[in-house]
Structure formats: structure tokens, C-alpha cells
């Protein structure tokens, strides 16, 4: 009988004991993620892992990359991913494997060959959970970045046919693309005549930012909307002059000024209402 087959047999024989001890260790060592998953759920995961592990061992698989462990790797990947999303630390996540290692190391002492084979496998699976965890975290971060990209460039309807686009932060090219498409879509959807682009929140206006603004202005014009740029702070205005950048559109110091101008252009005006009580007093 090979080492892996012996290991499979010992795991089967001691199954009840192993699962109990494994669960206990995970709960005391924080592998349960401080109540983030139920013990019933953890129990299901343990049962399944052990069953898949035994199946692979019975097929003589000696390495974690073996095809016989494909299903087990899938399971670990899903487990790591869901734990990453649930906010488990990497250590808590990998302790799923490493606590099992502790249990089986004790139980398999009768057969050094089997213990050694299993030890090596569990180490490899432990690393695999680490890697899967990390990959899942990176995906989460990338997704959040994309969401922020879209979230931070909202187009606001100020009035019938008047839109505002408050830009905040660094205008790297990926984001600018989203901003531009978003604005153009809104111009079409709302049949806008005027789009106010407010750059109060843009820290640096260099030639790349200027070029993005110019392209947006030109595209908006093609869709039948005029742009007004607002929020050009004095230091930015000076710098743009030195750079030699000319945006070739109406600019206003503040969003309020730009809005007032936009209203006038679409034939609206804002008037002060004199309260009746005061008028009579």
C-alpha cells in the first residue's frame, strides 16, 4: 500500500475524531473568523474538504497540482474568495488548512510515510489558500477602483437642459474616458443645451488634463451642447496661461456664476421673492 493510500485509510478510520478536533481548533484559534461563519457552515466545509482529500489520496495523487485534486482546489478557491469578501484575515483563512495539519500530524504518527506525504500536501494546499485569498482581494480592490471611477464622476441635472459635471481628483486617462462618455450620454438623454464642467476639485491642470477637457468640449458641441468651465482657481488660471493652454470656452470663477449664466442662456432667471410680512412692516 502506498503512503497516500495509507493516509487515506487512516483519515477514514479517524474521521469522527479528526473533524471534532479540527472544528475545536478552528474555533479556539479564531479560524472561525470570530463568528463570521456559522459552525454548521464550517462543519460542511470540513466534511467536504476531508472527503475530497481522501478521494485524491485514494487515486494516488502525491502533489497538490494533481488532476485528482482539481475539485478540492476549486473548493479551496471558493472558500478563500468568500472569506476574503467576508473580511477574514489571510491567517484566519489559511488556518482552515493549517489547523487540520496539526490534527492529522498527531493522528498519523503511527505511519511516518503517510504522515509525511499528507504534511507536504497540506502545506501546499495552505499556500494555495493564501494565493487564492490574495487574488480575491486584488479583484475586490480592482472592482472597487472601477466603481469609484464611475461613482466620482456623476453628472448632475441642475435645470431643464442644464447639466453640471463636478470633477474631483486626478484625471488619469481611464477615468477621463468614463467621464466623457457619461457626460455625452447624459447630454443626449436629457437633451441638454448647456453642460457646466466644474474643476474646483482638480488639483493640477496640465496639458493632458487640458487635452481631455478640449476633447470633451468638442464632443459635447457635436451633440448640440455648449460647455462652460467653472471653478478655475486663480493659481490654476495663471499656470494655464504659462502653459499656453486655451480652452476656447466661456469660463466662470464659480459654479454659481456658471449656473446663473446658463439660466440666462436658456431664457430663465432667478428673482428674489420679497416676503409679504416684511413688505408690510
Amino acid at each position: 500500500m502506498s503512503d497516500t493510500e495509507v493516509a487515506a485509510r487512516l483519515l477514514a478510520e479517524g474521521e469522527v475524531e479528526i473533524i471534532a478536533e479540527w472544528l475545536r481548533l478552528q474555533e479556539t484559534e479564531g479560524g472561525g473568523g470570530s463568528g463570521r461563519i456559522s459552525s454548521a457552515e464550517l462543519r460542511v466545509q470540513c466534511d467536504r474538504f476531508l472527503a475530497l482529500l481522501r478521494r485524491g489520496l485514494n487515486q494516488g495523487a502525491e502533489t497538490a497540482q494533481d488532476a485528482a485534486f482539481a475539485e478540492l482546489r476549486d473548493m479551496l478557491r471558493d472558500l478563500s474568495r468568500s472569506r476574503a469578501i467576508q473580511g477574514f484575515t489571510p491567517t484566519e483563512t489559511a488556518s482552515f488548512i493549517f489547523s487540520l495539519k496539526e490534527v492529522t500530524f498527531r493522528l498519523l504518527q503511527k505511519d511516518v510515510g503517510a504522515a509525511w506525504a499528507l504534511n507536504r500536501l497540506l502545506d501546499a494546499f495552505g499556500l494555495y489558500t493564501f494565493e487564492s485569498y490574495q487574488r480575491a482581494r486584488e479583484e475586490v480592490i480592482a472592482r472597487q477602483q472601477r466603481e469609484i471611477t464611475e461613482l466620482s464622476t456623476p453628472v448632475v441635472k441642475l435645470w431643464d437642459s442644464v447639466l453640471a459635471l463636478p470633477l474631483i481628483g486626478t484625471l488619469d486617462s481611464e477615468r477621463t474616458q468614463v467621464v466623457m462618455e457619461n457626460l455625452l450620454q447624459n447630454i443626449v438623454d436629457l437633451n441638454a443645451e448647456i453642460a457646466i464642467i466644474d474643476i474646483t476639485g482638480v488639483p493640477t491642470v496640465d496639458t493632458l488634463v487640458a487635452q481631455h477637457l478640449l476633447k470633451t468640449i468638442a464632443a459635447a458641441r457635436l451633440m448640440g451642447a455648449d460647455c462652460i468651465i467653472s471653478g478655475i482657481r486663480p493659481q490654476i488660471a495663471q499656470t494655464m496661461v504659462h502653459l499656453g493652454v486655451d480652452l476656447n470656452v466661456v469660463t466662470k470663477a464659480s459654479l454659481a456664476d456658471a449656473f446663473a449664466l446658463a439660466l440666462r442662456r436658456v431664457g430663465q432667471s432667478v428673482t428674489r421673492v420679497v416676503p409679504a410680512a416684511r413688505a408690510g412692516a
Binding site: P203, A210, Q235, Q238, T239, V245
Partner: protein, 132 residues
């Protein structure tokens, strides 16, 4: 010139980081808001040229204290293809890419001192200084 602190410029994230560090230093040196904005914008132009045309490189940030004068010097360096005609490159509106062709000339106008040395096949070095 040695001394100062060297930073890599290998990605557009690095360009953002260079801008942030230049702003922080200019602030710490007590530059006015206008002077901060000028050197940050010039740094942004040169960092992006280093990345886009120089294929990446470095910038050295040097704080200058000459008696009563305080300044910030930035030395951008790359081992890229070099600029065939520097006078043409400095001219407003000239671009070999798809830019506005204003970055290099703009950086010169935004600085108190400007030095451009480029050798074909060797690389490009641009040094700018802004005094407080």
C-alpha cells in the same frame, strides 16, 4: 549633480506620485500657492514626457538653500531615444505624438531656470528650478 532624492518614473501612477511629492516639498519649503502650482504642473509635464517619450526614467528632487534663497530643483533623466531637434521640441504646438505640444515649452515658462540636454540614442535630461 548628486544629492537629493531619486524617484522612479515607470508608470502613470508614478507621475501622480511625483506630482504629490513635489507639491508636499514645495509646501514645506514655504512656496506660495501660485509657485507650488507652477512647479507641480511643470513636474507633471516633464514626468509624463519622461514616461511617454523617454520610455521611463527617474527624477531627482533637490532642495536648495543658497544663503537667503530657497528653491526646488527637479532633474528628469531617461535613457530613451533622445530628441533630434530640441529647439523644435520646445516650440509651442510641436508634438511627435498626439499631445498639444505645449508641455516642454510650458515647463520652461513655469520655471525660473531650465536646462535641456538630449543626445540621440542616449537619452534626455531636463532640469528645472523654481526659487521661492
Amino acid at each position: 549633480m548628486s544629492g537629493g532624492d531619486l524617484r522612479e518614473i515607470r508608470s502613470s501612477d508614478d507621475v501622480v506620485r511625483v506630482r504629490q511629492e513635489v507639491r508636499a516639498r514645495a509646501q514645506a519649503l514655504g512656496f506660495s500657492l501660485v509657485d507650488q502650482t507652477k512647479i507641480v504642473t511643470a513636474a507633471s509635464e516633464l514626468a509624463r514626457n519622461t514616461l511617454d517619450y523617454g520610455g521611463g526614467g527617474t527624477v531627482r528632487l533637490i532642495e536648495l538653500r543658497n544663503g537667503a534663497r530657497t528653491g526646488l530643483r527637479l532633474e528628469f533623466e531617461d535613457q530613451g531615444p533622445g530628441i533630434p531637434d530640441t529647439e523644435q521640441a520646445l516650440r509651442d504646438g510641436f508634438t511627435s505624438g498626439r499631445g498639444l505640444g505645449l508641455g516642454l515649452g510650458g515647463a520652461r515658462r513655469l520655471s525660473n531656470e531650465f536646462e535641456l540636454v538630449s543626445q540621440l540614442g542616449q537619452g534626455t535630461r531636463v532640469s528645472i528650478t523654481r526659487w521661492k
